[in-house]
Structures are given as C-alpha cells and as structure tokens.
C-alpha cells in the first residue's frame, strides 16, 4: 500500500512540475527570429508631425501693473487667470498640440485628456479646443506649407496648488 501511494505521489509531482515548465510566466514573452518583410504597395503613405507644448502653465494673480511716477499711470496690468507662455523656437504655446499632415491622403485626429488626480479633486476644470477635426492631404503643397491644425488644452478656475501634474494627452490619428 505504502509503495503504491509513494508511486502515485511521485507521478503527480513529476506531472505538475513538467506542466508548469511549459507555462508562459508573467513578464516573459517568447521571441523568435524575424524573417518576414513588409512589401510596400500603392496604399497611402501616412506621415504626420505631432508637436506639443511644455504643458507647464502659469496661474497669474490680478495686478494693476507697474506704477510709473513720471506719468502717474500703471503699465503691464495683469488679468487674473491661466497663462500659456509661447515658445520662442517653435512659436507654439505651452497648451497647444500641433498636428501636421505630410500624407498623400486626408487624415483625422482626436485629442483626449486624462486629468491628474490633483486636477480631478480640485475645482479647476478643463476644456479641449479643436480636439477633433480633419486635416487635408498634403498633395499639392510644399513641405513648409503642409496642412495642419492646432488643438488646445485650456484650464478654468483657480490653481489647485502651487505646482501639480496636469495629466496626460492622447492623440488618435485616423484615416478618412
């Protein structure tokens, strides 16, 4: 009897171990040598530039500006609210996403925004301007004059804290 039970236990153990060894474990991906090659056809060639600003925004408090004793007037008054500094190199504001179409076909785009938990918990709201649209084909245009659209992330309300993560952005490019 003892021998029979011992044999059964051994068999169960061996089978369990060998079956587990063939399992794909978490985080492991089987990879093999690549041999296939993509063959281009006369299908459209999609080429899209995506440029985005720093997404670092400034919340300005209201200020009458600088007092000029010579003229008894203020200059450079500041209106309270969110400001989006413009980058001097690209000309793009911090809250802008520019999508440029270099394809030989029209494309569409949709921008979505996932606010950070800080922003979600605060009274600060957001809107996306021009978040979905189409962009004409680049056929008949020069490289420097390729068709483009600009979407904007705009914050509304006071800043929830001095410094916080805004969130993440996603751009979906679609064919028309």
């Amino acid at each position: 009897m003892k021998k029979l039970i011992a044999i059964l236990l051994s068999l169960t153990f061996v089978l369990s171990v060998s079956v587990c060894a063939g399992t794909i474990m978490p985080g492991y991906s089987e990879q093999k040598t690549v041999t296939a090659t993509y063959r281009a056809t006369d299908a459209p060639v999609y080429s899209v530039d995506i440029t985005w600003g720093s997404m670092v925004f400034v919340y300005a408090k209201k200020s009458a500006g600088l007092w000029d004793p010579e003229t008894h007037t203020y200059s450079n008054a500041v209106t309270e609210g969110w400001q989006y500094p413009v980058d001097s190199t690209s000309g793009l504001a911090a809250n802008e996403i520019k999508i440029t179409n270099h394809s030989n076909a029209e494309i569409g785009y949709t921008v979505t925004f996932a606010p950070s938990s800080t922003l979600t918990r605060s009274d600060t709201s957001y809107t996306l301007e021009k978040d979905t649209d189409t962009i004409a084909t680049a056929v008949g245009t020069s490289i420097d004059n390729a068709p483009y659209k600009i979407a904007r992330l705009v914050l509304n309300g006071e800043t929830p804290s001095e410094s916080f993560d805004v969130g993440t952005l996603n751009v979906t490019i679609s064919t028309q």
Partner: protein, 165 residues
C-alpha cells in the same frame, strides 16, 4: 501501515492533488499576463533599420516634436510568428519611440526603442498572442520618450487593419 502514518499520507496526497489542480489552472485556464508599455526607454529594437539623416524639427522647450511615417496595413504570419509592418521614426524627430501593435485590447507585438532615424518592418509576434487567420481592426500605440529616457506626457494611437495568415 501503522495508525500514526495514515494522516500524514493523507495530507501528502491532498497536497499533491492541490498541486496538480494549480498546474492545470496555470496551463489551461489562466489568462496570460498583459504586456505593459515600459515606463522608461528600453534598449534598441533588434529589428530597427537606420534611415537617412534629416534636419531636426523645431521642438518647444519642455515639449516634444516628432514625425511618424507608417502604413496602416499590417500582416501577421502565424507560421513565422512575425508581424510585418512599416513604421518609421525619422531622424527629424526629437523623441525616441516604442511601438505596440494591439488587437482587441491585447498587445501582440511590442518594439524596443526606436530612436530618431530608425524604422521597423518586422517585429516578433508575442508568445502570449492567441490568434486565428482573418482580418482584424487593430491599432498602433506609440509611446514617446525624451532624451533622458522618460515617458512623454503625450502618446498616440493609430487604427490599422491587420491581416493574419
């Protein structure tokens, strides 16, 4: 068999039975672990092909500027376990990329790093992908990484048609 060893043998039999059940679940019932996009830039994709040099795009300070050039037609060979595609991160881009090919929420291929100036035409099919022949609506998921290797605030998705043979 004496009376003292009987309970011990029963416990051993029970443990062995439970082990066999767990092994059966692991092989036949458990869903494969999802492939997650890397938080930091991985090493260079082994199938990456260098492209020609181009003038860099203007990049906003603290932001990013990239170009992606691609075909929306993708093929998968089950025999070769490969994904055939065309996806380029031209040298005029300012960020590195990682490309994922996704069907019905499952990542079937994931590239290594594609720095500016590299393209891919093939990727290995992930071992976790369970596919049958046919045409699928899938997508590219493109992640961007700055020069320090950190993930950008923005990512991109591109619908593609995937033919599995």
């Amino acid at each position: 068999m004496d009376k003292r060893s009987k309970p011990l043998i029963l416990i051993l039999v029970l443990i062995a039975f439970i082990s066999a059940l767990i092994a059966f679940w692991a092989v036949f019932l458990r869903d494969p672990a999802p492939v997650l996009p890397p938080d930091e830039l991985p090493s260079l994709e082994t199938n990456a092909i260098p492209t020609e040099e181009e003038e860099k795009m203007d990049q906003p300070e603290g932001g990013g500027s990239v170009n992606i050039t691609y075909s929306d037609q993708v093929t998968i060979s089950l025999a070769d376990q490969t994904v055939g595609l065309y996806f380029s991160n031209p040298s005029r881009s300012n960020q590195s990329m990682v490309l994922e090919v996704i069907i019905q929420g499952v990542t079937v291929a994931q590239s290594g790093a594609l720095p500016p100036g590299y393209l891919v035409e093939t990727l290995p099919l992930l071992g976790t992908a369970k596919l049958s022949a046919g045409t699928y609506e899938g997508k590219f998921h493109v992640l961007f990484y700055d020069n320090a290797g950190g993930k950008a605030i923005l990512d991109t998705e591109i619908p593609v048609t995937i033919t599995v043979t």
